[in-house]
Symmetry: C2
Subunit: 398 residues, 2 copies
């Protein structure tokens, strides 16, 4: 007697649960130290000490009725002000507190945007490979998900296919930069080209097309890669952020959406998004952690930790003969399966206690994703296992 819309999710869920159970089974059988689980995007870097201190200070110094109480559905004003100021300082933007809505993570922020914008039957474009939850989020509002084919090789947006997929019904486009699952960072030229296409299509169709830029990995860029701040390139942009990765707080569910004044009908859009945050049942982002992140706006993610992992895994795997997209951001490595059906490759890896996510789970078969937000030791210990796996495909080396 569950709702019809929920039934397809139940079927897929058992596949995910099987993978999770498999991880547990392997850990129980071989010991967790002998299982090389690269399947989860749960950071292994602890939250900065500053965050712990901030929470304690807030508990000791501030009125608990305020700390744990209701505030505006958009979040504490001073929290939004602190974040707006920090963004303005870094990106030369001009946001005020009214441009930010604090949300229950980036997941809720995307839902807030889609609920605010999408009418049933309207289309939302995503670029394969992509985080499959985007599909669920779009279906939540009876929107239609439209996939742009991957640009295999660069794994930047396939702009030719993008242009072909835009239609009268396109209401929004979701990008994710730095990119999960490929680790690619879209450079400024990509954002400019994307914006130019969107401007042209807005003209042609005579209505706004919103660009939703999902940026939980914004702080995770390596080798000097720059992550463009998208509101500067396209007016109808909403930026979605989460502290899950930058402050290692994925379980706390704290993020925000920025809706600039330049967005069409911005006052109504901001008001509607604030209401969407409320009536979704979230009401507001968790209060204590709102106050805590505001005290940590200048805290930095331990980039060196991820960078060491990135290099060790990338160099280790390519020297074994595997082909990977060189990761420039986030904490994912996108590896080409040595056989066309990457599910076979994932199954083979399991024999060596290596867990990876098949590209099919990101609408892009033939590849697998490795999340290197694990300990460095886990990576170095996994390489001999990968060597055995490589031997199956490429034969003994050296």
């Amino acid at each position: 007697m569950i709702a019809e819309k929920m039934k397809p999710y139940l079927k897929n869920n058992s596949a995910i649960r099987m993978m999770f159970e498999e991880g547990r089974r392997l850990a129980a059988e071989y010991g967790p130290e002998n299982v090389y689980d690269f399947s989860l995007g749960n950071p292994n870097v602890p939250a900065p000490a500053k965050l712990k201190d901030a929470i304690k200070e807030i508990l000791d110094e501030e009125d608990p009725v305020v700390v744990h109480g209701y505030m505006s559905n958009a979040g504490f004003e001073q929290v939004r002000k602190a974040i707006a100021d920090e963004l303005n300082g870094r990106f030369g933007t001009h946001f005020a507190e009214h441009n930010l809505i604090m949300t229950v993570g980036a997941g809720s922020a995307l839902n807030v945007c889609l609920k605010t914008l999408v009418n049933p039957g309207e289309e939302v474009i995503v670029f394969a490979p992509y985080f499959l939850e985007y599909g669920a989020y779009v279906r939540n509002y009876d929107g239609v998900l439209v996939e742009v084919a991957p640009d295999v090789g660069s794994f930047r947006p396939n702009l030719a296919d993008f242009e072909a997929k835009l239609s009268e019904k396109t209401k929004a486009v979701i990008i994710n930069n730095p990119h999960n699952p490929t680790g690619v960072v879209y450079p400024e030229e990509t954002i400019r080209a994307l914006a130019a296409i969107l401007e042209r299509k807005q003209q042609e169709y005579g209505h706004a097309i919103y660009l939703l830029s999902d940026e939980p990995y914004r702080e995770l860029a390596f080798d000097g890669a720059k992550v463009p701040f998208v509101t500067k390139y396209y007016a109808n942009t909403m930026v979605v952020y989460s502290y899950s990765k930058s402050l290692s707080l994925p379980g706390e569910r704290i993020g925000y959406v920025v809706i600039p004044d330049e967005v069409e009908d911005s006052a109504d859009t901001i008001a509607a998004a604030t209401i969407a945050n409320r009536i979704s049942g979230c009401v507001n982002a968790p209060s204590l952690i709102q106050l805590a992140v505001a005290r940590c706006v200048d805290a930095k993610v331990d980039l060196a930790y991820y960078d060491r992992n990135r290099k060790a895994l990338y160099e280790g795997l390519t020297s074994l003969g595997f082909t990977c997209v060189k990761p420039e951001g986030a904490f994912y490595l996108w590896l080409k399966s040595p056989v066309p059906n990457e599910q076979d490759f994932v199954a083979a890896a399991k024999k060596y206690n290596i867990l990876m996510v098949p590209g099919t789970s990101f609408a892009c078969p033939g590849y697998v994703r490795l999340a290197y937000c694990v300990s460095y030791e886990k990576i170095t210990r996994s390489l001999p296992q990968f060597a055995k796996l490589a031997e199956e495909y490429f034969g003994a080396r050296g």
Copy 2:
């Protein structure tokens, strides 16, 4: 260009915002100590000291990667176990951790239930007066809200009208006990009678009808009033809870839903609800505060604080000639407007800096709601103002 469904909310929102702005304006003009704001359900009792200690202990003792990390979408197992055990001890139930899903407050919990159950066009019954957000929650899933007329006088469920409003299309029924906005506690006989009607209608229609019992005020019952635990009276019950009121944590957004094994297709229903929690964008309830409430399952709300307020306000207002429903639970007093249009009464009260919520905001005109979760001093200082207001309607007394 916002979604059509959001447009009606924007209109209503300006009315709420006007009330909020009015409160601010009065506070700025007369000083906050001279404004008697009974409009908000934001507890004035601080969270128990135990909660603060629990948060600090968790931060000092536990691994931050776990404390702030992802867990099962249903919540930490040990948290759900601790809560299940506590419920079982108090109510003689037999819940295990799999029967609980931790949620972003009761608002999200209700959304999780409705998303799990309701197909477009299916009906969800509520009893007037009721928290108007229920309507938004039902519309989120294209359900149809059906209102049962109030039983003016007792303000218990109007069972005759309830029976008349049940139909083939009824998928769920929402009750709220203790009750916002009336302060009434539904006794066991009411729950039994309601369950009997539902059992009969399930038979007649040949499908399950789910009872969603929204119980954020469960711990707030006075004069020895007992709040029945509804799963014991009706199998297809889901209990929704929040720590907003019992631990004074409304801003933290922490609650849960209980889905007993006795619910039809319970395994699928629990799995679907867990997925609903995930794809709504919440993913999981905030992690640190989950761990903290689990350490405070035996913490008690300061009932004496609210009881003193309740008595002072009830006795003060009735002695001035006002007619109130005697409040037995929650922290609301439901006052009969001395004039048919309670909006006029609310406007008159504002002249004395008294802010109340018109019953129309709960689909029950002719009454007003006063939230007495304020300081005791605020109540005693408000009574001379209420006396001036009473004089307008009843003339000078004594």
